[in-house]
Each structure stands twice: as structure tokens, then as C-alpha cells.
Amino acid sequence: MTQLSAPAPLPPYRDSILVHEILPIAIFLAFALLPVAAAFGAETYLLGLFMRVMIFAIAALGLDLLVGYGALISFGHAAFIGIGAYAVGILASHGIGEASISLPVALAAATLFAYLTGAICLRTRGVYFIMITLAFGQMAFFFASSLAPYGGDDGLTIHARNTIFGFSPFKYERLFYYIVLGCLAGCYLLCRALVVSRFGRVFRGARENATRMATLGFEIHRYQLAAYAISGALGGLAGFLLANATDFISPAYMSWQRSGELIIMIIFGGLGTLHGAIIGTLAFLLLGEWLSGLTEHWKMILGPLLVLIVLLARGGLLGLAAQVAAWWRRETIHSISDFTWTFGRLVRSLASSIGERLSFNGIKFAIQLFWSRIRG
């Protein structure tokens, strides 16, 4: 009976230990074992591909923190990646290739940018927040494009990967791979701790009912700004790794299409679960890679597929898995005569989730963007 903007009821998969505890472990185990499997095949290609997945997953984790737990739909998230990458590239072009310098600079630059822009963006709500974060993202993009000494539009090649205290671990693909995996695991654990901490509780509460939080004594802006800065730092880390992995920086890292892709990744995997962001990134990038090998017109397939997932699966791929699992359980427990009932439930829940999704303008907007151009 409350007049609050009632949040969607907790999806059933929240309770599941299988989805929430075992699945993340399985994902990380698979990442850890991949180089072993890759040794039998196209090793360089596979390591490179999965490294890219993990790097973007770090940025996606940061975005899920904002979108999934704070309902702050940041549409300029690629800027943080770009700033982290440019920190590495610019320092390298001046002969500073030491990670003990470039990593702190990358993190500090991205965090500072997030803090300063966040202080302004967080004065707005809803669709205005989306637009203003997009505007700041575009500002970063055009700023990078106009950096003529550092390649301007064309970008800049980094001639030597960073060293760490004189050692060059990034030269060895496998070692680099495990460093990225370590970063991803660290960020994942950090985010998990964050959302259940005192801080995370206030941050989540601000999404639920801002007025109530204010009358309890919380200046919710401070918490949202802190989360925004943390999210920016994760983007900066991803940028640092990306620059080293590609030996190249380009304004394209900051394009709004990239920001849109990040949003699609986290929606694709399932919002507000953290490992959903990793799964979404994995699925999005692998699907793109696979489909582009099949046909030249692969975007024609990927586009509708993503729309279907977003429309039909409440909670993205994770939600879909849980729905199917629940349906399967019910199916085995009850006799076959319950089939129609179960099927009806499934259809109804799908229909209601379509309705919900359609009413969620931010996502609709993201889909429209996606249609207009899938990959930058």
C-alpha cells in the first residue's frame, strides 16, 4: 500500500546458493584453467580474447555497482577506461614505463575525474543523470581526440609495455593473463564486500527511498559520490590494463558506444549481482567474436538476440538460468499434469517482465542506442 516507487520484488535467484556462491567460483576456476586448455590450440588468440573479457569485466563490475545497487545509470563509463589508458600512453610517450608510477596515476586520474564530474552529475536524477554522464563522457572523448601530441584522432602506439620495479611481467602473455585475472578477482571480492558493508547498506538504501534516508540523517549524496569515485577507479584500472594489453590508446576507448556496450553487458548478465556483470561481459564479447566469424552481417543476429534476452529474461542471463532451473525443479516435483500450469506461469512471468522492461526507459534507450550502432 505504500506510495513509494515500489522496487521490483527480489528475483528468486537471490536465494540460490548455486547461483550466488558456486557459480562465481566456477567462473573464476574456468578463467584460471583457460591457459591450460589454450596451450593445445590457438593460445595467443584465446589468451588475448579472454584477457579483453576480463579487463572489460573489471569496468563492468564498477558499473554494476552504480546501476545494479544504486540505480545510477552512468552512460559515460568508457571515459574512465579511456583516462586510465591515456595515463599509461601519455606517460609511456615521455619515457615513463614504470607501472609503480603509471598505475597510481591512472587510478588517481580516473578517480578524480569521477569525483569531480560525479559531484555535478549526482545533482540530477533519472534520465537527466544518464544524459549528463553521457555529456561528460563525450567531453572526455573529444578532449582525447584533440590531443594532437598524443595522436589525436588516430590514437597512439605504446612501444614498450609497463615494467613493474624493473621487471617486465606484461611481456609474458600467460603471466599478464594471470595478473589480469588477479585484478578481476580482487575487484570482485572488493565489490562484494562493499555492497554488504555499512557503506553499501546506505548506498542501497538511497536507491530504495531517498527521503527516508535523509530523515534518518544520511547525506546520501556523499555516499553516492564515493561509490561513483570507486566505480571510476575500477574503470581506470581496466584502462591501465587495456593500454598494456593492446599496446595502443585511442579516443575510441572513450566513445559513447563503448559506454553503451558496458551497460548492455551488465544488463545482459543480470543487474545487481556482480558476477552477472562478468557473465554478461563474457557472453557479449564471445558472442560478438563468434558471430563475426560466421557472417559479415553478424550484428543482424546479435542485435535481436540481445533484445530478446533483455526483454524475456528478468535479471539477464543469470535470471534466465534461474527461471529455467526453477521451472525444471517444479517440473520434476509435480507430475506432468501440472505442465500446463507451470507453462502458464512461465508465460505470465515472461509477459510481466516484458511489461517491466518496456517501462524502464533507460534500458529502452540503451536498446535503441544499441540498434543504431553495435560496436564502435
Binding site: M1, T2, Q3, L4, A6, P7, P9, L10, A193, L194, V196, S197, R198, F199, G200, R201, V202, R204, G205, E208, N209, T211, R212, M213, A214, T215, L216, G217, F218, E219, I220, Y223, A226
Partner: protein, 250 residues
């Protein structure tokens, strides 16, 4: 007499051409339960919103335990010990009942910039929260999602949240709104138990509740204080009878 907990001085507020608060001056003394009554649209909720900091008055000043809080934000006022409930239940529906209350404890104890450690496992937050829940009879519902509570239980939860803030003044915005006869009775009992522990400003429609609980009553009509006094004095006031009580008291 001791300094009043709350003092409003010549408060004014208009929305466009509509004056909702007009030169309102009154006090809530230490330890008293002060009720504000008035017909629909008299500006009762707007008044509460100005006191709690959600609406900025056009002119006038608000003093809370001696400090001028007119320019302070709602969170700052809450931190000073000003707690409130809402006419339209305002809770965090996706949080469990105990988490709703533990958040209030967390706000009072401070230090919410802690990024590690599971907040829901902290005894320092949960124990005071359970005490507050027990006081309103919700202890056995602690782990239920707040959104799944019945209407009456939600009203009780709001009260528990306010209690957990250990307020220096509690603003109650129509706590009986939408409650059934039985629920109202329970809430009246709960409030009369709390009476005296801290001062309260009760805005209420339910006359039974007001006359059973209040030490002093102010009557608000068209944004103006018509009269203030003891329940007996207000009940006998011919102006009040004419303007408001008439139909209800025959």
C-alpha cells in the same frame, strides 16, 4: 520553565497563491506530547515537513533545542535528534525489517563510511534494533522483508525506526492514518507508553487518539494556529467547536 525543545517563530509558507502556513508560532515543551489538529488541507503535513527540513519555509525561524535549525538540511536535523514518521509509510521495502531499524541505529552511531565488514552481522547495530522492534511488537518479524508486512505492521515499523534514532523530539505525522480500529488502539497504547520518554509532536486526524494522548493541543486551520491549550480548554473553545470539532462532537 525549561527551554522548549522546539520553537517555531512566525513561520510562513505559500505554494503559488496558496498560503499553507501563515504566521505559525508555537512551542513544544520538554517532555510534553503536543498535538496539532485541523481539518484536511489545514497545512499539517506541510508544517511537519518544514520542521523536519524537507520543505524550506518562506520566512520565519525554527529553533530545535535552542539552536536555529532553519537553514539546516533534513539529514543534519536528524543527526541533532529530530526523528519523524510519515503519513504515507516510508520504509525501505526491499530491506528486511531489522535492516530498516539497524540503518537508523547506524545513522545514530555514525561511521557509515566503513567499506568492509558485513553490516548485517554487527551486534552493535542489531541489538539496539531488536530492542526497538520488541517495543512495537515486531520482534518476531525481524527477518521478513519490510515490503511484505501488513499495513499495520508497516506503521509499527516506522515507529520502531524512529525509536531506534533515540530522538530528542519525535514528529508523528498521522500515525493512525489508514489503520483499523484495533490497530489504532494498539498504536495509542504504544504511544502512551512512550509518552514522557521524549517530547512528541503529534499531527493526527483521529480525535479519540488526540484527546487520549495530548498534553496540549494546537488547532490549525487554513495554515493558521487558531488556538493552543489543554485538551479540556480546546474542547470547550467555542471558536474550535464552530470551526472544526462541531460535527464530530455533535
Amino acid at each position: 520553565m525549561a527551554e522548549p525543545v522546539l520553537r517555531l517563530e512566525a513561520l510562513n509558507k505559500s505554494f503559488g497563491g496558496l498560503t499553507v502556513t501563515s504566521n505559525v508560532t508555537f512551542e513544544v515543551a520538554a517532555g510534553e506530547l503536543h498535538a496539532v489538529i485541523g481539518p484536511n488541507g489545514a497545512g499539517k503535513t506541510t508544517l511537519i515537513n518544514q520542521i523536519s527540513g524537507l520543505i524550506v519555509p518562506d520566512s520565519g525561524r525554527i529553533f530545535f533545542s535552542g539552536c536555529d535549525v532553519t537553514a539546516l538540511s533534513a539529514p543534519r536535523r536528524a543527526a541533532l535528534g529530530l526523528a519523524r514518521t510519515f503519513q504515507i509509510t516510508s520504509i525501505l521495502p526491499a530491506f528486511s525489517v531489522i535492516e530498516n531499524v539497524a540503518l537508523a541505529v547506524q545513522a545514530r552511531i555514525g561511521s557509515s563510511f566503513r567499506f568492509f565488514g558485513r553490516a548485517s552481522a554487527e551486534e552493535a547495530l542489531n541489538t539496539p534494533a531488536m530492542v526497538a522492534l520488541a517495543e512495537v511488537g515486531l520482534a518476531d518479524r525481524a527477518d521478513v522483508l519490510a515490503g511484505h508486512l501488513s499495513h499495520g505492521e508497516k506503521r509499527a515499523l516506522e515507529l520502531a525506526i524512529a525509536l531506534a534514532m533515540k530522538p530528542k523530539l519525535l514528529l508523528l505525522d498521522e500515525p493512525m492514518a489508514g489503520a483499523g480500529r484495533e490497530e489504532s488502539k494498539r498504536l495509542i497504547t504504544a504511544l502512551s507508553r512512550l509518552k514522557g520518554r521524549f517530547p512528541m509532536l503529534l499531527v493526527e486526524h483521529d480525535m479519540t487518539a488526540v484527546f487520549a494522548l495530548a498534553d496540549r493541543i494546537s488547532v490549525l486551520i487554513y495554515g493558521q494556529i487558531l488556538t493552543s491549550g489543554t485538551p479540556d480548554a480546546v474542547r470547550a473553545d467555542p471558536q474550535v467547536i464552530a470551526a472544526y470539532l462541531g460535527e464530530e462532537m455533535e
